[in-house]
Symmetry: C2
């Protein structure tokens, strides 16, 4: 019932994805809009009926460019950008996500924006993986498809997050064959062929195990590349030698296998998200090089 | 620099998880609070310094109970609740998430709240899996641990989401052994032992394939239970016979294997989220029965 009422003089904006309509009202030269909150309703209404009405009002639109970087700290990005937008027609804002940093450049002057965005990309290289709404997983899938190569995963502490991110991309099946979530040591041995002596000598969270997991996944799935992650997401399981947040990544490819160590801050969710982002970023840099 | 400034008369609330402080100001008998937005900063500050200051103000606190249900439509939940809170000291609100419905009951009268929550649970049974902040994956892990049983997964269209949800739970390793993300048909055959004739005859999105995937995962991982998902998340890949949103679930256990068909609405993200929730819910009901 409440959804059927509108402020006096307002117009309902049709919502194709839910029951709550949007509201559009212009009064005293000011436009008011209300949209339903869920992103799957909000975004299409913003880009559909609301954009149409805003354009009809005239005025100079604000142009934006969003640059996206993974596996880098916000402070590093800000340091690299330095005085980029001082005395400029362009404004810059950095947004620290759990596992990414986004830089949003905005200007009413498209030329100034383009020049500044080019310079920002130069300063932030090689951290920038994409722009706009492109995700890191999309970049990786696209790079693999461009090379007609395939990927497999072997995940321990991330438990399937990397696979989930890759398969979030429509058409991922052309590049991503699948993966093995080897949460227990038994699964690491049985499904990835990690030798029990290796686990006994080095432990599951080690460079040796990460490499063996990646090599095993590449072999099991018959892929060109394989990514692996093994670490301690917490809150339990840490020690002085191997603290919570310690994550080893493995990367296996046509030219052999390598490993990479990281120690992430934050809670269990952050460690897992950051570990899955770094895995994808390691492959992106390898494919780009 | 900006974070060092406070409104006149305000007090800074210490933020142990980020640089931006909170702000606390009481003026004219009204309390104002501002907290940083990221959930990992917002929540602990809400429950720490802000709760302390709010308690010190006195007044009658509002008590709440949140009931959580998965794999059910908001309209079904509202229908079952019916006139529950009519002429009551308790208010009720339903929140439709992508793959769950939460019912929040609130009252200043703890007795009335308890009685209403009991009745709501009764009306919503068997849809309610938990309350408060408990997640569906926590409920499943807890049920498995209580039985000292283990779980494996075989995921196609969900690509690792079920594993990611399970391993989001600290201590999941006691119940979740691991899983296989069998995105390609080759992976379904090689890693899960799905016969090529079965795939040729029924297709990868079929009851037969879902059951074979679950049986294969249970065998590969040596678990008591195995869940499988195979479906068409879209946007491409659909047909008249097998539309986008069609998902087959498989469940293998000590007493054999079964399959379950669902057709989900929404885009790729929603289909995948709902499919992963339904998989966990199917196991929860099986374990509870």
């Amino acid at each position: 019932m409440r959804q059927a009422f509108l402020p006096e003089g307002a117009e309902a904006l049709d919502n194709p994805y839910g029951t709550a309509p949007g509201i559009w009202l212009v009064r005293g030269g000011v436009a008011f809009a209300a949209l339903p909150g869920p992103p799957r309703e909000f975004t299409p209404m913003l880009e559909g009926p609301l954009r149409t009405r805003l354009s009809a009002l005239g005025g100079t639109p604000l142009h934006t460019v969003v640059l996206r970087a993974a596996a880098v700290a916000e402070s590093v990005v800000e340091g690299l950008l330095g005085d980029l937008v001082r005395d400029s027609l362009v404004t810059a804002a950095t947004y620290a996500k759990t596992d990414e940093v986004h830089v949003r450049l905005a200007s009413k002057d498209p030329e100034a924006l383009r020049a500044t965005a080019d310079e920002a990309r130069r300063r932030l290289s090689p951290h920038v993986y994409g722009s706009g709404r492109e995700t890191l997983a999309e970049t990786v899938v696209s790079a693999l498809r461009g090379r007609r190569q395939t990927l497999a995963t072997a995940e321990s502490c991330t438990g399937g997050l990397i696979g989930a991110r890759l398969t979030d991309v429509p058409g991922a099946s052309e590049a991503f064959l699948g993966g093995i979530v080897a949460y227990s040591n038994g699964a690491k041995q049985a499904l990835l062929g990690v030798p029990s002596e290796l686990l006994a000598q080095h432990g599951a969270v080690s460079a040796e195990c990460a490499e063996a997991m990646a090599v095993g996944a590449r072999k099991s799935l018959g892929s060109d590349w394989a990514l692996s992650v093994t670490g301690i997401a917490g809150p339990g399981g840490g020690s002085d030698e191997k603290p919570v947040g310690l994550v080893w990544h493995g990367l296996a490819g046509p030219d052999g296998a390598s490993s990479h160590k990281a120690v992430f801050g934050g809670g269990r969710d952050q460690v897992r998200a950051r570990a899955s982002a770094l895995a994808l970023e390691l492959l992106r840099r390898k494919l780009g090089g």
